[in-house]
């Protein structure tokens, strides 16, 4: 399932955009510890495509997508 989320992000001096935390729709905030990979990718699971950030949040790896200025994640079923 596709879940659009709010994201706090930072532009660095080179113009790169880096997500810092994901804010869930119930207000919970998850800090992103590290972004390990950035590439364009399709998400067959959630239906869509975009710039895919592979994020480490605690012990989990999560894909965060940016498409047409909206962020979304693959929500577990």
């Amino acid at each position: 399932m596709k879940q659009f989320v709010s994201v706090e992000a930072k532009f660095d001096t080179d113009g790169n955009l880096l997500p810092l935390s994901i804010i869930w729709d119930d207000g919970r905030k998850f800090e992103i510890d590290r972004v390990t990979d950035v590439r364009y990718a399709a998400s067959l699971k959630s239906g869509g495509r975009g710039l895919r950030y592979t994020c480490r949040i605690g012990n989990h790896l999560r894909y965060l997508y940016l498409d047409d200025n909206r962020w979304f994640i693959e929500k577990p079923e």
């Binding site: 590439r39 364009y40 990718a41 399709a42 998400s43 067959l44 699971k45 959630s46 239906g47 869509g48 495509r49 047409d68």
Partner: protein, 463 residues
């Protein structure tokens, strides 16, 4: 097209001249008129000394349907077709996915007919903005491999990688990489043909589908291309196929081996072209990405949600179409001298009428009035009208000086031009419906459509 004919013509003529003026007169003259010698000459002229090019043709499989299925995982494993809205009488199949294809559903057939073949068919409305975005994204991927990318519609493109081979690898490997990247990054599949000219590479991308790569080189084209039916060649449509079959030509190989005069006799200049296509002599270049194609005409047409029964109906639809076409004309910085209208009645009989203006114009009011008066003069209401179209051509730049006349009210013209400019700005800022002429309010069901922002997918030809 012209270049084509020129090069082939030159080759043929030169060959004839050379032969007829040669010293061994009588013998040569006889052979000059014989097809085989003539053909040989053309072979030599066109085929010789050309550095072998490497051209890919990439075709997104079931493009609209694939994009829809990507965004909607629930329908991905069901038969899906993208179709127009039947309530507006645009209810035909635009594309279908692989599963729907297995039911024999064809592009262009009405929805009811498709549902007869497959009752569980899911039809979705098209999202052209999304398709345009995907088309742009595929081109961005191609542009990593060459600066020669020529689009053919939204979903197809030729990529000339002749010069990239040195740096990136063989054409086939580039094709494999593009295929993989499109799948991973965009979630859709492409079929790619790799060959030494544009026609065979397009043939290759159609040869195996979906998600496949076909290499057609000088060694194997006789096996692959020549054994295929004649209608698989670009520009052999239904009518040409029928005519070819009546001449006993059924395969592309048979086109290639038919004497060129025979084809010229039956098909005119197209005979040359098809013969050259079939033999792999297509030399047309893949356009550079930065080469802008010159616009020759701007037009819009629409099928009305119900049949148009009187002049008032026509006025509503025509006003919207003229407004859109004139806005596009001004946005491109043109004035037009020729106006053409297309009328199609409910029995699908259609015809065009055109007129020219004394001086080039881009004034909406003037163009609309002329389009309506042209319509008034050309149509006798033999049947209600199903669709209307308007096109402007014969362009000049909108700041090109022109001869003004004593008999025209130039001041009024200037005022109207200023008014149009203001309307364009307002519509650009606040949307198409922010400002409409009062007569459109009478007939909202006919006039509430927006050709300016919708359906701006332009058909293209090879030449």
């Amino acid at each position: 097209m012209n270049e084509y004919n020129k090069s082939i013509n030159q080759a043929v003529n030169k060959n004839v001249n050379e032969n007829t003026t040669s010293p061994e007169t009588s013998k040569k003259e006889n052979t000059a008129s014989s097809p085989s010698s003539l053909q040989k000459g053309v072979y030599e002229k066109i085929g010789k000394d050309k550095r072998q090019r490497v051209i890919l043709h990439s075709d997104c499989n079931s493009f609209y349907a694939s994009v829809e299925c990507l965004y909607n995982p629930d329908i991905r494993n069901k038969p899906v077709a993208v179709s127009g809205n039947p309530e507006n009488r645009h209810g035909i199949i635009l594309t279908k996915n692989e599963i729907a294809k297995r039911f024999g559903i064809k592009t262009g057939e009405p929805i009811w007919q498709a549902k007869n073949k497959c009752p569980e068919l899911i039809t979705v409305e098209p999202h052209f903005d999304l398709y345009k975005r995907f088309s742009k994204m595929t081109r961005e991927i191609y542009s990593d491999y060459s600066d020669r990318i020529e689009g053919f519609g939204l979903d197809e493109a030729w990529i000339d990688v002749t010069d990239s081979e040195k740096f990136i690898g063989k054409g086939e490997n580039i094709a494999r990489e593009i295929n993989k990247r499109v799948k991973q990054e965009l979630g859709i599949t492409v079929s790619i043909g790799v060959s030494f000219n544009k026609i065979f590479s397009k043939f290759g991308s159609d040869y195996k589908k979906p998600d496949a790569i076909t290499v057609i080189n000088k060694e194997n084209y006789r096996d692959i291309v020549w054994n295929s039916p004649a209608q698989d060649l670009l520009y052999v449509g239904k009518a040409t196929k029928k005519k070819m079959n009546s001449l006993g030509i059924y395969t592309i190989g048979e086109i290639a081996n038919t004497p060129i005069e025979t084809l010229r006799y039956y098909f005119g200049k197209w005979g040359y072209v098809l013969w050259a296509f079939a033999n792999g002599y297509d030399t047309s270049p893949v356009a550079r990405t930065d080469e802008q194609e010159t616009v020759k005409s701007i037009g819009n047409s629409t099928t009305a949600p119900r049949d148009l029964n009187d002049f008032e109906d026509v006025k509503s639809v025509m006003t919207v179409l003229c407004d859109c076409v004139c806005r596009r004309l001004r946005a491109n910085g043109f004035k037009a001298k020729t106006l053409q209208i297309t009328i199609r009645d409910k029995f699908l009989m259609s015809f065009n009428r055109q007129m020219t203006f004394d001086t080039p114009t881009n004034i909406t009011k003037q163009i609309t009035e002329n389009a309506l008066s042209l319509f008034y003069r050309s149509y006798s209401w033999s049947a209600p009208i199903r669709s209307l179209g308007i096109a402007l051509s014969d362009f000049s730049g909108d700041n090109t000086p022109y001869q003004i006349s004593f008999f025209n009210d130039e001041k009024k013209k200037q005022k109207l031009e200023a008014l149009d400019k203001t309307i364009d700005i307002l519509k650009g800022r606040f949307g198409n419906y922010s400002l409409v002429t009062a007569n459109l309010l009478k007939n909202p069901e006919l006039s509430h459509f927006n050709p300016y922002d919708d359906h701006t997918v332009h058909p293209v030809g090879f030449f």
